[in-house]
Every structure is written in structure tokens, then in C-alpha cells.
């Protein structure tokens, strides 16, 4: 009896298998199925980015970092640390960051994991000192908010000086002529 079962069982399996068909996907050789909600690598558009650093503040694992040097401000995106939460997309004021469904990020070279956007920093019109903002951001702020011509494009120290001078002119005459 058991001998007959031993012969019949593989045949039964064959019948079941032929009904089900092949389930294995051919992944590297065909397009994978990805749901529309899937969150993959972000792409930063260098033509739109103003270098404000809103994404840097929002990023939970510090995958987006702002590296400041003497006259350059570099936005660095490290995919190896990104958790694909897409919070940077929500906070970007100019919509420069776009989410993709790209997950094929495997590499053997760690340098492939980094994206850089290099911004120039603004120089003060008065004293030539480098201020914190990038050139793009200054343009953006001037479009959005009203800043007097006297004050724009100047470093905080120079602005303070101008302000104190203006007040003192009204009250006692120019600074330094007192006494």
C-alpha cells in the first residue's frame, strides 16, 4: 500500500504544480512590480534649489547635510543613510526635491552614494565679509519679503551700524561728533 502511495505522491504534486503554474518573478530581467505609494530615492533639482537648509532641519537621520566652507555652501545627500521618509519634499519651499520610485541603489563604491549641490555664499556689499546666505536664497527672500534697499545684501554687523547711525542722526547728530 505504502509503495503505491510513494509512486502516486509525486504525480499528485505534478498535477498541483501544473495547475498553479510558475510564480517566481524574473526580476533582474523584467520590470519589477512597485506600488505607486512606494518611496524611493529623492532627487534634488539643482536648477531650483536655493540652499535654504529647510530639508536639512527636517531630515531625521541627517542624510541631508549642509557643509559650510569659506565661500561655498554644499548640500550633501547621502543615500546610504536616507530612510526614505520624504519629509524633505514636504518642507522644501521651492519644490526642488522630487521623490522617485528608484530602489536599485546597490553599489560597490561608497562615493556613488553621495550627491552634492554647491552653492555660492553672498558677500556683504559694505565690508566684503561673507554672510550666511546663498545667492539664490537672497534672491528668493527679496522677492518674498520687503527689505529696504539700505539694508539688503549687507552683513548683520553693517546693518547694525547703519541702524545705529540712522537713530543717532535723528537724536544727537552723527556718531563720533558727540562730546
Amino acid at each position: 500500500m505504502s509503495f503505491v502511495k510513494k509512486i502516486i505522491k509525486p504525480v499528485e504534486v505534478l498535477v498541483v504544480a501544473s495547475k498553479t503554474g510558475r510564480v517566481t518573478i524574473k526580476y533582474p530581467f523584467e520590470e519589477p512590480w512597485i506600488s505607486p505609494e512606494f518611496r524611493g530615492k529623492i532627487e534634488i533639482d539643482p536648477t531650483k534649489c536655493i540652499g535654504c537648509g529647510a530639508c536639512v532641519n527636517a531630515c531625521p537621520p541627517n542624510a541631508l547635510e549642509m557643509i559650510e566652507s569659506e565661500d561655498k555652501k554644499t548640500l550633501r545627500y547621502f543615500v546610504g543613510r536616507c530612510i526614505f521618509c520624504w519629509r524633505c519634499i514636504d518642507v522644501c519651499p521651492v519644490g526642488a526635491i522630487k521623490g522617485t520610485r528608484n530602489f536599485e541603489l546597490a553599489t560597490n563604491d561608497p562615493l556613488d552614494l553621495y550627491d552634492y549641490i554647491v552653492h555660492n555664499r553672498v558677500k556683504c556689499r559694505e565690508c566684503g565679509k561673507v554672510t550666511g546666505e546663498t545667492t539664490r536664497m537672497l534672491k528668493y527672500v527679496l522677492e518674498k519679503a520687503f527689505v529696504t534697499e539700505n539694508y539688503n545684501n549687507k552683513c548683520p554687523d553693517c546693518r547694525k551700524k547703519i541702524f545705529i547711525n540712522a537713530i543717532s542722526m535723528r537724536r544727537t547728530g552723527p556718531v563720533g561728533e558727540k562730546t
Binding site: 517566481t24 542624510a63 543613510r81 530612510i83 526614505f84 560597490n108
Partner: protein
């Protein structure tokens, strides 16, 4: 490195090395081995000991508690030995990159290994949180040379 890569190109036997991960990547590894994704198409086999393995699937940000055991496991793997760092935690430290109890990803591990004289022939990085099983299959296909590398660094300068 390519010569060493040739030697493991036939079938990759992997050892699953959990270094304090949240188990999401571990579940995706099991997912990649199911008949649906079927990593065994590429000769991938999960083995029970690092002594039998060609490649270590490293998940997690490498906690200080697990560090000596990880080093032991890597020392036990025969040359040429490769590491596939899985997930954000494995490849860059992830959300734990600067916490007190982790060393933050495979890069610092390789530095520590160099100090101890343990050589690793290559590290593959697979970002994702957690990784898709397809991402792991892609990494395996990359080692076998079946697909081309798509990841590329972008450097843009704003005027």
C-alpha cells in the same frame, strides 16, 4: 578585486549577520529566498556558519555589544570574503549613525578591521529602509555581473 570577484561569481553562499537591526531587513532577506523572488536562481544559499560563506549579509548599525562577535564572524569567513551591507543602518548607520551605542555603519567597521589586520575584499552597499527583496536580488545580480550599476554620484554647482 575583480579577480577575487571572479572566484565567487559561480554560486554565492551567504551568511546572515544581524548586528543589532530592527529585523525589517532580516525579514526581507527571508523574503528574497522564498519561491516568489527565489534568490536560488543565482545560486544564493543561506548557510548556517560563516565558515561556509562567501558573502556576509550584514544588517543593522553594528552595536558595541555585537562588535566583537561581528569581528569574529568576519575573521572566520574564508577569503575572498565580501560584505553586503543591507539597509540604511548597515550602509551608513541610518537613524542611529551618531548614537552612543553603535559605531554607525559598515564604513567604521572596515576601519576597525583594518586596524586589527583583518582584510575584507569588497563591500557592497544596498541602501533602503527596509530594503526591497528586489534590491537584494539586484545587488546579487551586480556581483554576478548580470546587470549594470545604476547608482551614480551627482555634483552640481550653482552659479
Amino acid at each position: 578585486m575583480e579577480k577575487k570577484l571572479e572566484r565567487i561569481k559561480r554560486s554565492i553562499w551567504v551568511f546572515h549577520l544581524n548586528t543589532g537591526s530592527c529585523n525589517a531587513c532580516d525579514i526581507e532577506i527571508l523574503d528574497a529566498l522564498t519561491p516568489y523572488h527565489d534568490a536560488e536562481r543565482f545560486g544564493v544559499k543561506l548557510v548556517g556558519s560563516p565558515r561556509h560563506a562567501d558573502v556576509l549579509l550584514l544588517t543593522g548599525p553594528i552595536t558595541l555589544e555585537s562588535l566583537p562577535k561581528v569581528i569574529n564572524a568576519i575573521e572566520a569567513t574564508p577569503r575572498p570574503r565580501f560584505i553586503i551591507a543591507l539597509g540604511s543602518c548597515g550602509s551608513g548607520g541610518g537613524i542611529w549613525h551618531d548614537t552612543y551605542s553603535t559605531i554607525g555603519g559598515v564604513n567604521s567597521l572596515v576601519k576597525i578591521l583594518k586596524e586589527r589586520g583583518v582584510e575584507v575584499d569588497g563591500v557592497y552597499y544596498v541602501p533602503g529602509c527596509p530594503i526591497r527583496p528586489e534590491a537584494l536580488l539586484y545587488a546579487v545580480a551586480l556581483i554576478r555581473g548580470l546587470v549594470e550599476k545604476k547608482a551614480k554620484s551627482m555634483v552640481a554647482t550653482v552659479e
